[in-house]
């Protein structure tokens, strides 16, 4: 009985994640194309897709590599993009913190925006689920997403350099990032953080590559947090 409910939780996860595949496939393909255009070979491109498996951080690292930034600056900026996942990790603890270590280790590998969002919504909607079912559901959400991420990165890398300049693919990365940021601007504090980031990154553009971005990003995080506190006090 336990076996069949675990399986149905897994399948429920798969169904919840299916709509996300529409986002994941083109995003992965774009990374494959842009990475190949920037001069990475297939193994390096797939190294990013499999070992890092985080689109925005992969693109950030790629852009800073193209800018010839120092290694530590590439790592710091790309990891900063991923810091939000520490929040995901923390918020999953009350739901699956009692699962065996190896299961939590497995969930951590596929703890990405889409799987997290789908799973946490399901946990909150159905609090009666057992810990085993929650793990199964999370892995279910990853089942369609992760393989498609690899597959479409390969396809993009193979297409890679065959794409003419007239397609202006140089601008795929800015449009993608802007499209991610737009829906995130849900409060005055978020807008203030984004505006600070834009202004300081332009002002500090003369600094060695990566440094200006890190200074701008850190200041923007502070501004976001301070504005949030100010808004709360007003209420």
């Amino acid at each position: 009985m336990e076996g069949s409910t675990t399986k149905s939780a897994f399948l429920r996860g798969v169904m919840l994640a299916l709509p996300f595949t529409i986002v994941v496939a083109p995003f992965a393909m774009l990374f494959g194309i842009v990475a190949t255009e920037a001069g990475l070979d297939l193994a390096e491109t797939m190294g990013f897709a499999i070992l890092v498996i985080a689109g925005a951080a992969q693109f950030t690292a790629l852009q800073l590599l193209v800018d010839q930034a120092e290694t530590w600056a590439v790592l710091a900026a790309a990891l900063a993009v991923n810091l939000r996942m520490a929040m995901y990790s923390a918020s999953l603890v009350p739901w699956i913190g009692r699962a065996p270590f190896w299961q939590r280790a497995l969930v951590a590998y596929v703890n990405i925006d889409q799987t997290y969002a789908a799973s946490i919504t399901a946990y909150e909607r159905d609090p009666a689920m057992t810990v085993t079912q929650r793990i199964a559901l999370f892995l279910g959400t990853a089942a369609p997403v992760a393989p498609l991420w690899y597959l479409f990165t390969v396809l993009g890398a193979l297409l890679g350099t065959g794409i003419p300049d007239a397609w202006a693919l140089d601008f795929a990365l800015p449009i993608t990032f802007i499209a991610m940021v737009g829906p995130m601007l849900k409060s005055v504090a978020h807008v203030a953080a984004a505006a600070t980031s834009v202004a300081l990154s332009l002002l500090l553009a003369g600094l060695p590559s990566g440094l200006g971005l890190l200074a701008a990003a850190f200041s923007a995080m502070l501004v976001g947090a301070l504005v949030e506190m100010a808004m709360e006090r007003r209420r």
Partner: protein, 109 residues
């Protein structure tokens, strides 16, 4: 282009380890520990603090035009942002930005 002597595999492996460590962090600890509120408050703003800073210089002085301001690319960026804010949809914003880019490139050239 990425320079030939860039330590690409070092970056891939360290970024992979670092990203995994972030994802596992609190799940790896025992018990029901949570982040201090001030840290959560800062972390909430990491994506909106980092991504616009990467994009802004690329929008105003695109490497593809040797850093010269390009009205078509600027229009595409504005369209993607506006559509993203209004529709709250990542995919719609990308599609709108790309459509604006191609339309503007075609009109202006």
């Amino acid at each position: 282009m990425i320079s030939d002597d860039a330590p690409i595999w070092t970056i891939i492996v360290l970024l992979g380890i670092g990203t995994y460590a972030i994802r596992f962090s609190f799940l790896a600890l025992l018990g029901d520990r949570t982040l201090p509120p001030w840290l959560l408050r800062l972390l909430r703003y990491t994506p909106v603090a980092v991504l616009p800073g990467i994009v802004a210089p690329l929008v105003l002085s695109p490497p593809a035009t040797d850093g010269v301001f390009d009205p078509a690319r600027f229009a595409a960026a504005v369209a993607a942002l506006a559509i993203g804010i209004v529709t709250r949809s990542f995919l719609t914003a990308i599609a709108g930005g790309a459509a604006t880019l191609y339309l503007a490139l075609w009109l202006l050239n």
